[in-house]
Symmetry: C2
Subunit: 404 residues, 2 copies
């Protein structure tokens, strides 16, 4: 029996496991210290009232034979797909059909599972730094080649550096690539792409027969009016892009689990429609999101739900401003934070990412995320997240500034 040998090429443990390990070790050795976590991007605000009420109602429905729900459609209930089409996309001027939307348990699942549709020999381009799931899932499928611990790179991936010099948005690749992962507002840098930059990517992909996998999980944090929320705001994107979205950061669903993926019907590659392929994949390997959870997600689109989630988003945006302005005021070089819950901070004194991580952990008792964990070009940076409590975030910023 032959295992998938690509798994054995995967280096060490997942970034957040290593952070958890170092944090736990420090806590064990210093039980009197109170840590503030601005590391992993997990929300802290409770679910909005409208969502809670919808879940309670749905639980009651599951308790009566007349309203009980068994297997739902693998693609999601119509009521939720309709709300997504009408309220997330129509206001952007994007016209989608309901069967172009696939409800799922998470953008992480979809970003990983979408790889099922692709052959092994595609050339895959990723931003550097990058959300590790894009890289690791391609490595598992054999599309990344071999890992080099010295460079921190996989032999077959094409890395697109996102640096201070290019404003953390990558240049088009010089050679032909087949699959391109883009995430804007970006995790981890918090950068956004302009309409013109996205239009250049769409043109490239359509001309080169490439596919864009567009992760817009953080679009709700955009504050500047000219920044696109969806790749489909760009003409031609429906023939070259799949878009991933999530209720995790928008509505506090990290522990409630609901997301969706848009696969336009017009999207064809290799003579096949990717919408039909993804539908087949989901029907065969997935059985839909719990009814109660889909009702919870639907409630996000009610007037009360929209107002309540906006309150939470504003709360986190205030944190983002606090971190951004605080660190900048202390003389650090920061970016992101304006259209994003993430602040990308250059390490001082020429410190490495993990060195600055350790210094902040040990001296300020603040947990961050080392930029190097997101790829070679993340070296020399840390990521801070705005998802904490306001007072704790305030104290964390004070503590960090005090130890610089």
């Amino acid at each position: 029996m032959q295992i998938n040998e690509n798994y054995q090429k995967l280096p060490g443990s997942y970034l957040f496991s290593e952070i958890a390990r170092r944090t736990a070790a420090y806590s064990a050795a210093n039980p009197d210290k109170t840590l503030i976590r601005l590391g992993i991007g997990d929300v802290t605000r409770p679910l909005p009232q409208a969502v809670l009420e919808a879940m309670h109602r749905a639980v009651d429905e599951m308790g009566a034979a007349e309203t009980f729900r068994g297997y739902g459609p693998e693609q999601g209930y119509d009521f939720l797909r309709r709300a997504i089409v009408e309220q997330d996309y129509l206001p952007l001027g994007v016209c989608l059909e309901e069967d172009e939307v696939f409800v799922s348990d998470g953008a992480k699942s979809d970003c990983g599972n979408i790889g099922d549709l692709f052959g092994p020999d595609n050339v895959v381009a990723v931003c550097d730094p990058v959300y590790p799931v894009y890289v690791d899932t391609n490595a598992m499928a054999g599309r990344a080649g071999d890992y080099c611990a010295r460079s921190g790179k996989w032999s077959k991936l094409r890395y697109m550096p996102c640096t201070a010099e290019n404003g953390f948005t990558p240049a088009l690749p010089e050679e032909k690539v087949d699959i391109i992962y883009l995430c804007f507002p970006n995790n981890p840098t918090g950068a956004v792409a302009t309409r013109e930059q996205l239009a250049a990517w769409v043109k490239y992909a359509n001309e080169q027969d490439a596919l864009i996998l567009y992760d817009s999980a953080y679009e709700a944090f955009i504050t500047q009016p000219d920044v696109p929320h969806s790749i489909y705001e760009i003409e031609g994107a429906k023939t070259c892009a799949i878009e991933f979205r999530s209720f995790s950061k928008t509505a506090g669903f990290t522990g409630t689990r609901c997301a969706y993926t848009v696969v336009p019907r017009q999207l064809q590659r290799g003579g096949a429609g990717l919408n039909g392929m993804w539908n087949r994949r989901q029907c065969t390997k997935f059985n839909g999101v719990p009814y109660v959870i889909q009702r919870a997600a639907e409630a996000v689109y009610t007037p009360e739900g929209r107002r309540q989630i906006q309150e939470n988003i504003s709360y986190y945006q205030r944190n983002a401003q606090l971190i951004y302005q605080g660190l900048k005021g202390a003389g650090l070089t920061v970016s992101g934070g304006i259209n994003s819950p993430y602040i990308w901070c250059k390490t001082p004194d020429g410190l490495g990412s993990w060195e600055f991580f350790d210094r902040l952990l040990e001296r300020a008792n603040v947990v961050t995320t080392p930029g190097a964990g997101f790829g070679p070009s993340g070296e020399g940076y840390i990521r801070l997240t705005a998802f904490g409590e306001y007072r704790a975030t305030q104290e964390a910023v004070e503590r960090v500034c005090a130890v610089l």
Copy 2:
């Protein structure tokens, strides 16, 4: 850009889509007829009270900052893994560690996704008839070869006929195979394997370095005391078997979505531990089951929960007896139904599966599942399920008997 060309080899649509299509067409042409559905294996009883109460409590927890839960462990919360280990396995004399249990959104997802861990060149053996997910997911991964519409078989799969002659339990393969899918109590035939039969499989797998993927989603329906509920009741199974279980049929969770997979630490293949590989897969491509749903599943293990789910299981078991005895009394040849919610019925008059399906649809207005949809050896059979309402099941049996 290269797609996964294996998708294009998949024949037609999924079995249940075709049933839905024929049923919808008949209903549209005969709007005055009331159909009774004994086809797809979906439960109809509402969720037990203990489960509802646990969900309501968990929803409330999500509404307060102090008790709100964000990202949970990808593998499932300890409270649920502990309940599984202590209440599902310990009473069987099977000792598992909590980190050998992985909570998920469904056995279908896990049965499909587990293929991520295997190389492309394994020889895969499936029962015939078989739950289509095992076949289709291997076809998608390129392990099935090419499909032959005439034989209904894939060129690289090894089919193990399950027929009346062998009591619907397959013989050991004569040639070496690498991965073996077993499902007992069986979907679709309702057959079970004896302890001796399973022991022969475990011996074969350990000797041949093969892997058994054991689906025991229906174990709660076993009524005979000597029938094993888990493959791990067989000595040596921990070094050769992965087991899939689900709350879907046990606790009515088809629309609530919770299941689990056991990957023993001792299970090694190709020098790698499959427990660690599955853990890596789940951490990279999955973000856990909703907190509210895991609390719902936990409630199944309370004394009230256990009593309430047993009431529902007994309700369905009564239906199974009704169908089994009714059809047998009418002169049909039936099996299953005793340790299973499925009744496997030979078609009369030499009819094909789809012919008998159509006759029952048109003359008795009863929806069944044609055995041929589960594989070539299912031809000449239909599957009936015990998950309907009692009165409707009673009427369906009467209607079927009247048109024979």
